[in-house]
């Protein structure tokens, strides 16, 4: 029983961050049909921003997580403007852009990772913040994990409410469902894409800053988070924002349970296995139908 509580508490606290990472990635997928495989490297940038601000000026990661979100969001706008805006305007259908945009993000991934290596060196870095812990259901949980999980899940829920309640959010959901029909009823999809790029990249930056409170960081950290996010959005269904939220929490639980029952070395094996199995057997994800 104690074991189950431990898996629940730790799993959900990790899962909240997985959800935040995945919602950003899924937003870009849903609206633009773009798979940003450099997503994890934006997380890395966010993590380094929080780390540097904390080390040089002692700024609390909670404050710098907002700065990281804004910085990455602005980066997203720049990247959209320079690399994608003209080709999206020119393309008749987004499907043709799929493979091209994937390879462009691939290039971005290589550039960002190696620039980080040049600037920050390959050393693994970290800092400790809010490490004293309290007991939740008999499981000791450090404050930094609680804070990170609360901020992450708060951001996800806030974004979800925004999508459900505001007119702009409705437009975003409409584009996810059918781009052409959305344009027909008079929505400026281009403006919407810009917004989605900013939010998706910003969420990655926010997640990065939160992760830097918990784990050590290095220029290579991005890839594993990209894979995590891919597993989550496949689990929840491509283009399904609520699915990503639930999928993130679920993956946190599955990974924690798997590690507890075997050994920490199996974390990646479990996640990759899950990814492969879900694509083959349940391509629509746990909820929602398959995107056309």
């Amino acid at each position: 029983m104690e074991l189950i509580f431990r898996i629940l508490v730790i799993g959900l606290s990790i899962g909240a961050i997985y959800a935040l990472i995945a919602v950003g990635l899924n937003l870009l997928w849903g609206t633009l049909r773009m798979l940003n495989i450099a997503h994890g490297d934006l997380i890395m940038i966010g993590a380094y921003i929080a780390f540097l601000l904390f080390k040089s000026w002692g700024i609390s990661p909670i404050i710098s997580s907002l700065l990281a979100a804004v910085a990455c969001g602005v980066l997203g706008l720049v990247i959209y403007r320079v690399l994608f805006s003209s080709s999206i305007r020119a393309a008749k259908t987004l499907e043709g852009l799929e493979a091209n945009s994937l390879l462009i993000f691939f290039g971005l991934l290589i550039i960002i990772e190696n620039m980080a290596l040049l600037v920050f060196s390959a050393d693994i870095k970290g800092y400790s913040y809010l490490t004293n812990s309290i007991n939740i259901l008999g499981t000791p949980l450090p404050f930094n994990r609680i804070t990170a999980a609360l901020v992450a899940i708060g951001a996800c829920i806030a974004f979800y409410i925004f999508l459900q309640k505001t007119l702009f959010g409705k437009a975003v959901r409409a584009v996810i469902q059918d781009k052409d029909a959305t344009q027909l009823v008079g929505v400026n999809t281009h403006k919407l894409y810009v917004f989605c790029f900013g939010v998706a990249f910003g969420m990655a930056g926010l997640a990065g800053a939160l992760i830097s409170m918990l784990y050590s960081i290095s220029p290579f950290m991005g890839q594993s988070y990209t894979v995590l996010a891919l597993v989550v959005i496949i689990l929840g269904g491509l283009g399904n924002i609520l699915g990503s939220l639930i999928g993130g929490l679920l993956l946190g639980l599955i990974t924690t349970a798997g590690i507890t029952l075997t050994s920490p070395g199996y974390a990646f094996t479990i996640q990759y296995l899950l990814l492969v199995l879900i694509i083959i057997f349940m391509p629509a994800g746990i909820l929602g139908r398959r995107m056309q």
Partner: protein, 319 residues
């Protein structure tokens, strides 16, 4: 007959020059060519599946790595040529096995799936080494000479080029290209898409496995991070798309070009090289989406069309 001789002359001369290299070139040139052939063979075999069918395969490292592990497990118990063949057979068979469930999946799902599979194989091999062998990495001793490695890589590259060329000009190749064009329409026209995809997937994987086996004996120290390095996948994909994936010439060109750049920059400025690699990829995707060869062809055709149109105009509307 005369046409065949004419068509074969230039490739035969190039091949003779390349085959004579070990006799007069320095060890440095030879090792540079070795790397070039490794990437050339990988990029051409990538094209046999991904270039022709349009299914982007980001699992190159998995097939390459399986080949290296054939060498790790069986060298020096089997002779070198047998090992290369076995490497190809193992990788090809693995591709057949995973192809059944995987090739039903299209578009981005397929791309993620191959990337995930490659990482899954890597982490499984890693777990196997830690749990069963209690050590990470293996050193291979008494490996074949550099000349033997050179000739085997040259042979694999030539074989891959011939296979790619023959497929491109066959009914089979036409079927593959129709899958790229419109898979549903191809199926409706009677192309057995499942069989076609599976066959070309396995063929392409088999060549990657052969290359992996040779490279394991070249590098002599093999561990999962080296054998299943995603960077191999990335470079191969970039080389092929940079050159253009319409036939074997594009990937050869891309491989030669990027190997040269990496040789100039790679040793002293690894990070700079990779930044340039990423930038090249972005520029190519933005400005030459059909690769160097594809763009050249379009330009040529464009010129011919303009000339034809002018002639037509003069005939029809004489002043």
């Amino acid at each position: 007959m005369t046409r065949v001789i004419k068509n074969c002359t230039i490739p035969a001369v190039i091949l003779l020059i390349l085959a004579a290299f070990p006799f007069y070139a320095s060890g440095y040139i030879l090792s540079l060519l070795l790397i070039a052939f490794m990437y050339a063979a990988l990029a051409v075999s990538w094209t046999i599946f991904s270039g022709y069918t349009g299914y982007i395969n980001l699992g190159v490292a998995a097939f390459f790595g399986l080949g290296t592990y054939v060498a790790v497990e069986l060298w020096p118990r089997l002779p070198f040529p047998a090992l290369i063949v076995l490497g190809g057979v193992v990788s090809g068979f693995f591709a057949l096995l995973i192809g059944f469930p995987c090739l039903r999946i299209r578009g981005p799902y397929f791309i993620i799936l191959t990337l995930g599979l490659s990482e899954l194989v890597k982490s499984l091999v890693e777990r196997y080494e830690v749990q069963v062998r209690h050590s990470l990495g293996t050193i291979l001793l008494d490996t074949p000479s550099a000349e033997a490695q050179y000739y085997s890589l040259l042979g694999i590259t030539v074989a891959a080029v011939i296979v790619a060329h023959v497929i491109r000009n066959s009914r089979f190749g036409l079927g593959l290209l129709s899958i790229k064009g419109n898979e549903n329409a191809a199926e409706a026209m009677g192309v057995n898409t499942t069989k076609y995809k599976l066959l070309s997937f396995a063929l392409s994987a088999a060549f990657m496995g052969c290359v992996g086996t040779v490279m394991a004996l070249r590098w002599t120290f093999i561990e999962p991070v080296i054998a299943f390095n995603p960077l191999i996948t990335f470079q191969v994909t970039i080389m092929a798309t940079l050159g253009g994936v319409e036939d074997f010439r594009g990937p050869l060109l891309g491989a030669a070009f990027l190997t040269l750049i990496s040789e100039v920059l790679g040793i002293q400025f690894v990070y700079h090289y990779l930044i340039i690699l990423g930038t090249t990829l972005i520029l190519v995707m933005k400005f030459l989406p059909s690769g160097i060869m594809g763009t050249l062809r379009q330009l040529r055709m464009g010129k011919r069309n303009v000339a034809q149109y002018k002639k037509f105009e003069e005939e029809q509307f004489p002043h």
